[in-house]
Symmetry: C2
Subunit: 224 residues, 2 copies
């Protein structure tokens, strides 16, 4: 296995994040490479979803992964080991979210000419990552069933800025006091256009629906 490339990123408080994000978006558009920003609480299943997704798409979509973590390189190592996909690890050194400047450092370490899709695994946090535009083509988030159906009430910004919500660990629905109808109503009150897909990274349920959504995004976003 190749060694994981580790980049220590720092926040540049003087940078204009909105401008940097626009530059990232323009760069990806020129390269015709789709940038997906995946966010969730710690442990909701971001890395598992990435691994499930890579299994399905890596033979016909060229993917790079940017993993962000406060510390450790376990996620990038897992992605490279289990999927053979190139993964860059950004270590934020205590920092609670990615901004567009940090994403730029990750993109600089990838060969964008040979990629159709870059997936960013943001820091596990439902608060701060929602406040910083990374320059992604679209934002995706995971809510896992054990976290509870009240989370849109408590973290409204995150649910508002995402284009797709994956409800993961759907295999726990029977054993949890989780009202899927109430969740969807709360999410749609914040964000009527969001796509909601129920999945289980453990059983594989719903993964094809998610992959169809992502494949369509990658294929159509920069065509024409």
């Amino acid at each position: 296995m190749d060694k994981v490339r580790l980049i220590e990123v720092k926040e540049d408080i003087l940078s204009d994040n909105e401008n940097m994000a626009s530059e990232v978006r323009e760069r990806m558009r020129k390269k015709k490479a789709y940038l997906l920003n995946l966010m969730s609480s710690p442990g909701a299943g971001k890395t598992s979803l990435i691994l499930r997704t890579l299994e399905k798409i890596k033979h016909d979509i060229r993917v790079g992964v940017i993993e962000a973590d406060i510390d450790s390189t376990v996620d990038a190592e897992k992605v490279m080991e289990e999927s053979g996909t190139t993964a860059i690890q950004l270590r934020t050194g205590g920092f609670c979210h990615l901004d567009a400047a940090m994403v730029t450092q990750g993109l600089d370490a990838l060969d964008l000419d040979s990629l159709d899709l870059v997936i960013i695994e943001n820091v596990g946090n439902l608060v701060c990552p929602a406040e910083f535009d990374t320059g992604a083509t679209k934002n995706a988030m995971i809510l896992s069933v054990p976290e509870g159906d009240d989370k849109p009430l408590k973290y409204p910004l995150m649910f508002s800025i995402c284009h797709v919500l994956l409800v993961n660990k759907i295999d726990y629905l029977a054993s949890e006091d989780f009202d899927l109808g109430a969740l969807k109503q709360r999410v749609r009150a914040l964000n009527p256009d969001i796509r909601i897909i129920e999945v289980s990274c453990k059983t594989g349920e719903g993964i094809n629906t998610w992959v169809d959504w992502l494949r369509n995004e990658v294929e159509t976003s920069f065509s024409g």
Copy 2:
């Protein structure tokens, strides 16, 4: 039911948090009231643990609760409704953690002379709350089994600053790929003195052990 008292808190970026935290600690010492700062990811079970704890202790320990949330007052309402305990809701308006100045505003709304224990439910976040001393007597955190046993590798500061770790949703151990031995080893490598208690807020398992720890803390911290 009394109406929940809602306080909109703002970060005072000019305040010296360390000094404010010392003032909070001194104030609580004088009042002989214990201040517990409870932290975790979203959905790990902070409110459920508080409700389970109140069931056991509210007849002989006088408790007040300070709930913090980005938005919504659901937690304070639930605590008041289900336990009859006074609960203050701090709304941080997007802010990702509590600091000592915000906690001071919560304490100002409570009658500390008639309380033995104040429990703060911090914002659901494993990153930022670890960086700000609230002035609490002790810090407690919850990690729930569905979040995974690798979290100490990824959020080391949180595990380092806590005096007690509750491993919640222990009833999921059988169905999750979660290595409790590995978790404990990772936690103790960061924090050899931390007390680790396995609980299930759903089944009640381990709650007595936790309550014994807390009761002993409250009874002995300001004696002598």
